[in-house]
């Protein structure tokens, strides 16, 4: 095992250990992903009584292959998340991404809501020492699930100005994709609707938003790449 670990690269495991049985293609899951996948942290084990948790959020659809559900306990006076429980239907990186996010939120006795809102998919991917490119959308969903739960909390406590954080408009309410997500996808090299959908799942469950999405893609392509 030691041989596989490259110390210069933050202990990132370089050898592929998952092989696609149909195509023979292989991809790498890091030790971190594997550890959270096989020993997920902070799972909700029994369905909670009403009011046990302060807020709940869900994103994804079973047909798409990923569903994440998040339960939060919040200390309103301190504006802090003090507990984070979850359940996820999805592949290894989806499960690992929710697990590591729950650890990130709860590891130091909780996290201020403002800080939690700033967690980006990239932060989650980094904490997992990376996930395969085409699996990034799985971790993209876990921060959306957290945000969905926080939005529910804001609505419940009348803090409507804090709903849909970062001043970014939600484009697709099913997967909680925002304008900022579209911009990020374009910056990440997605220039067509299909490519953006592969990264964000925008419009798959809510096709009404596709015209707006296409317009945004054109806008951000022009803004960042002049094309």
């Amino acid at each position: 095992m030691k041989k596989n670990i490259d110390k210069k690269n933050n202990g990132k495991v370089s050898s592929p250990d998952v092989v696609n049985s149909h195509t023979g293609g292989s991809w790498a899951y890091t030790e971190k992903v594997k550890s959270h996948f096989f020993n997920p942290q902070n799972i909700l084990l029994v369905d909670p009584e009403k009011e046990t948790y302060d807020a709940e959020g869900i994103v994804g659809s079973p047909a798409c292959g990923d569903v994440m559900r998040v339960w939060l306990k919040i200390d309103q006076a301190k504006d802090k998340i003090i507990d984070f429980k979850w359940k996820t239907f999805g592949c290894a990186s989806a499960i690992a991404a929710t697990s590591i996010l729950s650890v990130m939120i709860t590891e130091k006795g909780g996290m201020k809501i403002d800080r939690a809102l700033k967690i980006k998919p990239g932060d989650i991917v980094r904490r997992l020492d990376g996930v395969p490119d085409r699996k990034i959308h799985c971790s993209v969903l876990s921060d959306k699930a957290l945000r969905a739960a926080l939005n529910a909390w804001f609505k419940k406590t009348g803090q409507f100005e804090r709903v849909s954080a970062e001043g970014s408009k939600i484009i697709d309410p099913y997967v909680k994709v925002t304008e900022a997500d579209i911009e990020k996808a374009v910056l990440g090299g997605a220039f067509t609707l299909k490519q953006v959908q592969e990264k964000t799942k925008v419009g798959i469950g809510y096709p009404e938003c596709i015209p707006a999405t296409e317009e945004l893609i054109r806008f951000y392509c022009e803004k960042h790449f002049g094309k």
């Binding site: 998952v18 696609n20 049985s21 149909h22 195509t23 293609g25 996948f37 096989f38 997920p40 799972i43 084990l45 869900i58 659809s61 079973p62 047909a63 798409c64 292959g65 990923d66 569903v67 994440m68 559900r69 359940k87 996820t88 239907f89 999805g90 592949c91 290894a92 989806a94 499960i95 085409r134 699996k135 099913y174 609707l193 299909k194 959908q197 592969e198 798959i204 469950g205 809510y206 096709p207 009404e208």
Partner: protein, 420 residues
Amino acid sequence: MLKKKIYLDYASTTPLDKKVFMAMKPYFFEKFGNPGNLYHSGRVAKKAIDIARRKMEKIINCDPGEIIFNASATEADNLAILGIARANKKFGNKIIISNIEHKGIHSSARLLVDEDFDVVEIPVGSNGLISPGKISKALDKKTILVSVTYADSETGTVQPIEKISKVIKKFRAGKGAPPYFHTDASQAFSYLDSDVKKLGVDAMTISAHKIYGPKGIAALYIRKGIAMTPVIIGGGQQNNLRSGTQNVPAIVGFAESAVITKRMRKKEYLRLKKLRDILEKGIFRMVPKVVLNGHPQNRLPNFLNVSFLDIEGEAALLYFDNANVEVSTGSACDSETLEPSRVLLALGRSYEHVHGSIRFSLGRHTTAEEIRQVLRIIPGIIKKLRVISPLDLKLNESKKISRPEAFAGGRAPHFLRNKK
């Protein structure tokens, strides 16, 4: 975790038989010649191919010169579809395939659409079977080729090939002209009689690495007298139908593996069916919310494809792998394209079901003890993943949740929409 690895993915590939390897070995070293050469080394190689070819002709009961060696079943399928269609365009432009064909056939047929061919996909019934009546109705004067898999590679459902060939022969009414009938027997060959005369097929694909032979070699049987244009062109080997120096050791190994497979066929059929049934019954007894994919009876004896509801297949596959058991899944997450299994969707399974599908395929080295061990670990793995999962799908509600047309928002997901 189990100490010894248990391989239950024989439908994906099989280990090389040692006897096959020994038969191949000389052709890598001292008998390395090119069969296209006239001098002694060339003649030795050519003779080896001729002997191998004769062995295979005998096994599938075809006439001399009716087998073309290819580098893979995919290539053989490509040659069958593209080659027969292109050479017989003067007779018509319609091709009929089932909607559960292997991608080697499906993609070839799609390619032909750009060449003004008309491709008709016959959907399987909910039991996974192609109805010969539906084929009969689809046949018309323009039809030149029909291709239906002998047994598909995901559920192992066995299609009524003899009945379909009768329908086609009746339509031809004694004339030798098209429509011709091709079948891919890659999965079926190990366990079912693959006599081309009994089956009544005009072309048939078989693959070596599914029958304990080497990878990189397959064969296309094509009945004499059927016009076919090559896909791979060059030096004119194999009657100009498949150029390229023949892979002599692989061809020798292929024939050897076919001989052994045929010899073991009946015994292995009964032995594996018994083990598969133990596995199937065990899973259904111990695990709630499981759906069988494929035909309950008309199925290859080594196939078991089930959907464990509420869990995702790639996650399950990796938990199995972690427990030293190797299986496969039709989940989108496990595919390069992130597309769920076309075959399972064709059977009318909802996306949720397909995402949770696991294929167990048994083979020559599977033992009763292995099946017992696998059965011991399955309930725990499924239970653990269900604890993590937020879903609680109902068995009988499956159809209501999401067929493509019932997908949230009323539109199919991106991977379906952009297909057309």
